[in-house]
């Protein structure tokens, strides 16, 4: 019943403590993580968008530079000068020296005929009049192509500019190595999953993609999703993972630079943090749980102990109350009995006096009278003794303080009983502590207590056995334990043993007052006396004597 109460209390206490202490920890952890995740994701988007912008600008710059050089060459040289292969070669060399990435250079006249060419392929004399770009450059004045295979079966793209000279238009055309574009873009491929490439409006790769395809293959990407200058969108990539795509239009919005990356990779820091947080929180939770269980157990155990002590204390209080009440009653009874006893004793005395007179001397029953009177007196004396005992030798009840060596007192008491014990073959073992101080107490009363206990122990054993007498100092008390190996006590005996007139001895052998008087003496001294059974055999009485240091004389 009580055990269940403790368990339920323990459970409640643990649950409550855990909830109260874990909830804030978990909420804080979750909030911090959420906040950090948001910040990280935002930062990732920002980063990728910034990278896209930077790369787009670099490519734009690259293209503009090439276009500007072509324009400059076209503006500063005449058609006649340019179609001379030697001159053109020289110009081509200058251009490559200044800017690079030019694969070849050619001059096309207004009929579309390739009039001069410097480069690895022999393209001179080819006619471009049917190529759509030829018309565009003739109309617009400049043209940048998508990457295409063309006659030479190599991915490439061209930049062409038109020049008017004496009502005649001609075109300066250069092929650019698309690998150079890829080189620029490559630096934007970050980590294991990062990719960067160019596609045209139709979604055809203009540079090689790291994972998704070669140049001029079709990308699995809807370029219409990207608007404005830089757009960041999130979708699944070819592996099916979430992926951030940043797109930036360039080259007169013909090309789209795409940089993509799985955010998970960029968020690795976040995950490291999450892991650390998990570890810290787990450790925290573990610590709190362990601590809570430990503390609660401790408290509950302490509570149990206190309860137990309280129960014991209550029992002792009840016992002392009972004994005090009995003591008062006994005193009243004693008085009421003493008066009639006094009268009886006087009457018998008077009868004895009268029997001495001469009239009675010849009475044949004189002896019978005398005997009867003697018997009456004997029993009055017995009753008187009971009353005397009951009041514990009233004169001695107020303790007289003197210097008492408890060990000495024990030894003296044992000396008194040694013969009695030896006759019954009972061995008295003595183990007295040296550290016991001389105290202010009443030696006679203490001796009476020890005498009672030792006598009882001898009576309990009967014959053949041993008694252990141990004295120890425990805090502010001297504790004397008297242990016998007799039959021990029943629960009822333990409950009643200090009650007056409670005896287990044969009628007439004990008054049942010894332990009661001992208890009263110890209570008056501020000490204590209690009894319990030994685990193995017999009973043990414990006497606690308060240590009162004698005043210096």
């Amino acid at each position: 019943m009580k055990e269940r109460l403790y368990r339920s209390l323990q459970q409640k206490s643990i649950t409550l403590t855990l909830v109260v202490s874990l909830a804030p920890l978990l909420i804080l952890g979750a909030t911090l993580y959420h906040q950090f995740e948001n910040t990280c994701r935002e930062k990732t988007r920002e980063q990728i968008s910034y990278r896209a912008q930077a790369q787009a600008e670099a490519i734009d710059l690259f293209l503009k530079e090439r276009t500007a050089i072509l324009n400059a060459m076209a503006d500063t040289h005449t058609f006649q000068h340019m179609i001379d292969t030697q001159n053109l070669t020289r110009i081509f060399e200058v251009m490559n020296a200044r800017a690079g990435a030019f694969v070849d250079l050619g001059i096309i006249d207004n009929t579309g005929i390739h009039r001069a060419y410097v480069g690895p392929y022999d393209l001179r004399g080819r006619n471009y009049v049917d190529q759509p770009w030829f018309n565009e450059v003739m109309i617009k004045g400049h043209y940048k192509s998508d990457v295409y295979m063309g006659f030479r079966q190599q991915p490439h793209f061209i930049i062409a500019v038109r020049r008017h000279e004496n009502q005649q238009a001609w075109i300066l055309r250069a092929t650019i190595d698309p690998n150079r574009l890829e080189e620029i873009i490559r630096s934007a491929r970050i980590g294991r999953t990062g990719d960067a490439y160019l596609v045209n409006r139709q979604g055809v790769f203009q540079t090689r993609s790291r994972f998704e395809g070669a140049v001029l293959s079709k990308a699995n990407l809807d370029t219409r999703q990207f608007g404005g200058r830089i757009t960041v969108i999130e979708m699944k990539d070819h592996t099916g993972e979430d992926c951030l795509y940043a797109g930036s239009w360039l080259n007169d919005n013909k090309w789209l630079l795409v940089i993509n990356q799985q955010p998970l990779e960029l968020l690795s820091r976040l995950f490291a943090l999450r892991q650390m947080e998990m570890v810290i929180i787990s450790l925290g939770v573990l610590g709190i749980v362990a601590m809570t269980i430990f503390t609660t157990r401790l408290v509950i155990n302490r509570l149990k102990k206190t309860d137990l002590e309280m129960i014991e204390l209550n029992a002792q209080l009840v016992q002392s109350d009972k004994l005090a009440a009995l003591g008062k009653m006994a005193a009243g009874v004693a008085h009421e009995i003493n008066n009639p006893l006094a009268v009886i004793l006087q009457k018998t005395g008077w009868m004895e006096d009268l029997l001495e007179e001469e009239d009675f001397q010849n009475c044949e029953n004189l002896d019978e009278f005398r005997k009867s009177i003697a018997k009456i007196e004997e029993h009055v004396e017995r009753a008187r003794k009971v009353v005397h005992n009951m009041l514990g030798y009233a004169r001695k009840m107020e303790p007289r303080l003197e210097d008492v060596d408890v060990n000495d007192t024990i030894q003296q008491t044992i000396t008194l009983l040694e013969n009695h014990a030896r006759i019954n073959n009972i061995d008295i073992q003595v183990d007295l502590a040296d550290s016991i101080p001389v105290i202010a107490s009443d030696q006679a009363q203490l001796q009476q207590v020890f005498l009672n206990l030792l006598n009882n122990a001898i009576d309990a054993i009967g014959s053949n056995g041993s008694i252990d007498v141990v004295s120890r100092r425990e805090d502010d008390r001297i504790v004397v334990r008297i242990k016998d190996d007799g039959p021990g006590l029943s629960d009822e005996m333990i409950r009643k043993i200090f009650d007056p007139f409670y005896t287990t001895k044969e009628p007439g052998k004990g008054t049942g007052l010894g332990l009661w008087v001992s208890h009263s003496i110890m209570a008056k001294m501020g000490g204590n006396i209690h009894v319990k059974n030994n685990p193995d055999r017999g009973a043990m009485f414990t006497v606690e004597v308060p240590i009162v240091i004698p005043e210096k004389k």
Partner: protein, 152 residues
Amino acid sequence: MDYFSILVVDDEVDFLETLVKRLQKRNIDTVGVTSGEKALETMVNKRFDVVILDIKMPGGMDGIETLREIKRHQPLTEVILLTGHGSVETSIEGMKMGAFDYLLKPIKLEDLMVKLGEAFEKKDLQEQKIRKARIKELVRFPGRVFQQEKEE
């Protein structure tokens, strides 16, 4: 012992009568009364060497009050207190007030006789001392007129 006189004061009539009879049988001049008031009254007319006084007398004067009165008027009269266990402390108080001794009830006559003997002896000594002192005074100051000692 005829010239010794004793007053016994006890409210328990049976006890009182018997004790008085037994003392008288031993040729001691004994009077018994049942209350403190009667004791004081009796003592006005007759002087007693020893008063045997029960401490516990319900109703009227108790033993201690009676003792105080006796010692006030006749300090030389010895008082032996009779007491039960409940009033041992009172008896000790009584002894501080001048009682000769106390006896626990129920008493044996032999014990009482011993105490009485001691009490008589003490009283005798006291009186002798006083007498001697007076004689000395008389010798030293032959012309001095002594006042009657106040013992009513």
